[in-house]
Amino acid sequence: MGDVLVFAEHNGGHFPKTTLIAVNAGLEMARKRGGQAIAVVTGDNASGPAAEIAKYGVSKVIVLEDPRLANDLADAAAQALAGLAKSVNAETILTTATALGKDLMPRLAAKLNAPMASEIIAINDDGTMIRPMYAGNVLATIELEGPVRVVTVRGTAFDAAKPGDTVAPVEKVTPELDPAGLKMEFVAFNAIKSDRPQLTEARIVVSGGRGLKSGENFKTVLEPLVDEMGAAMGASRAAVDAGFVPNDLQVGQTGKVVAPELYVAVGISGAIQHLAGMKDSKTIVAINKDEEAPIFGVADFGLVADLFKAVPEMVEELKKVKH
């Protein structure tokens, strides 16, 4: 009754914060639905990670191990998860809306003939949920009908689960994979290498916009500030659109949603679509030469200045504060 299957995404055995958030949201959902939270770990080598996630408060961990699940391809993963969801009679299948969660969960929903809610930010006691729409300008209270439903949660809306004293039992289940339904082939993954914190995990995020004028300026002007603050680097859609930085850095409605303790927007005007990705940050700083820029409407502290002067100055000031 009311059991929740949490898809525990891992990256070669490492669980990102977004997975611990999914576990915590799954625990909350299970509590409110009178069921248990079960974590499921998939991959060609999933047993090691399964033992790790077993410490985070779930009732059970299920391992779906198969070489064909190695690269999280949506057709294989949806098959395996749908088979498991049916066999354990799960009511909700849930994960965080990461790139993988967004790719996989709608396919799983269709396979289970189930409705799906994307990026919910709250679970109500009456079974309804709240999700943002229209770039966060509308909060909709929704309900999902049927014996099975699929949910992704927004990473910024739930805390990460913490390890406890108990370790849940780990059970290995042979995944059901029909070879006729496996049509996708993994070719390559080109990782963007960075020593900086992940955007969705960082305490401080420094983002640049079109005001930076070039990719080169991201490197020479913005990055020293990013590194001085020990921050993750983000960017507006306009900066990604202009080819200054990779899409992986995009903060906004159609990129990543972040809510760090400190968000510094540099040369970003504050289009609706960007605000959707950062307006829940605890403290927001905006540096922009246009004093009418909408970003100042959400900033706690605004500085009207030429960023090419202000940013290097800020790096120097920060050094003083540190010493």
Binding site: D75, P106, I192, I204
Partner: protein
């Protein structure tokens, strides 16, 4: 190569959205409607594939009569024909995916190209659902698409990097921002679009179960974030972050 592009009519992304006082929906008076920007990228990619490999680009919408406007815009960009599945009722994402999948079954294209997300409901579901309903491979969040000898290779925007996957057609591809820059409709394009076929079908004629399983009970505006204050210098900024906000 035959390409089907599902198209959604959405409020212009620059529009400020207001919730109706009774929470039943959003105010639509004085709101300009456009093609969902990611669907525009899908149309553009379809046109480029057609220009390279030959074939046709057909648009599908599930909506009301006024959705013709966006379909005509897509035709003016260069699509060959359009189908409007006329519907007046509130459908959930899965019902819309089932309707589109049914039409795609009849159309038998090589490729369905669709925006990764509609910028109104922000669900990011339809493409993946269509792929599953048809039993086709899917490549979401595409930033590069190459097709040779019926085999398609797609570079995808993933967390932490770019993933490349490959599959045989037919398939569903959902488009991300960097895939291309959509063309504008030219004046001759707009003239031609008036004569291109735009077929209308009643949604009830498709025999698809339309019962919504996702229901919106009410809508509300989020709490508004108050603007703070301006600081006069970098020195002051760093000082308030240190002593007042205590974040550095």
């Amino acid at each position: 190569m035959k390409i089907v592009v599902p198209v959604k009519r959405v409020p212009d992304p620059a529009t400020t959205i207001r919730v109706l006082p009774d929470g039943s929906g959003i105010a639509t008076d004085n709101v300009k409607f456009v093609i969902n920007p990611f669907d525009e990228i899908a149309i553009e990619e379809g046109l480029r594939l057609k220009e390279k490999h030959g074939g046709e680009v057909a648009l599908i919408s599930v909506g009301q009569t006024n959705w013709q406007e966006q379909l005509r815009t897509g035709l003016a960009m260069g699509a060959d024909r359009a189908i409007l599945i006329k519907n007046e009722q509130a459908l959930d994402t899965f019902a819309i995916a089932r309707v589109i999948a049914k039409v795609v079954e009849d159309e038998k294209p090589d490729l369905v190209m669709i925006g990764k997300q509609a910028i109104d409901d922000d669900s990011n579901q339809i493409g993946q659902m269509i792929a599953e309903l048809l039993g086709w491979p899917q490549a979401t969040f595409a930033s590069k698409v190459e097709i040779a000898n019926g085999k398609c290779t797609v570079v995808r925007e993933a967390d932490g990097g770019l993933q490349t996957i490959a599959f045989q057609l037919p398939a569903v591809i959902t488009t991300d921002l960097r895939l291309n820059e959509p063309r504008y409709a030219s004046l001759p394009g707009i003239m031609k679009a008036r004569k291109k076929p735009l077929k209308e079908l009643a949604v009830d004629s498709l025999g698809v179960d339309l019962t919504p399983k996702l229901k919106i009970r009410t809508m509300s505006a989020p709490p508004k974030r108050e603007a703070g204050r301006k600081v006069a210098s970098v020195e002051e900024l760093v000082a308030v972050l240190h002593t007042e906000a205590k974040v550095i």
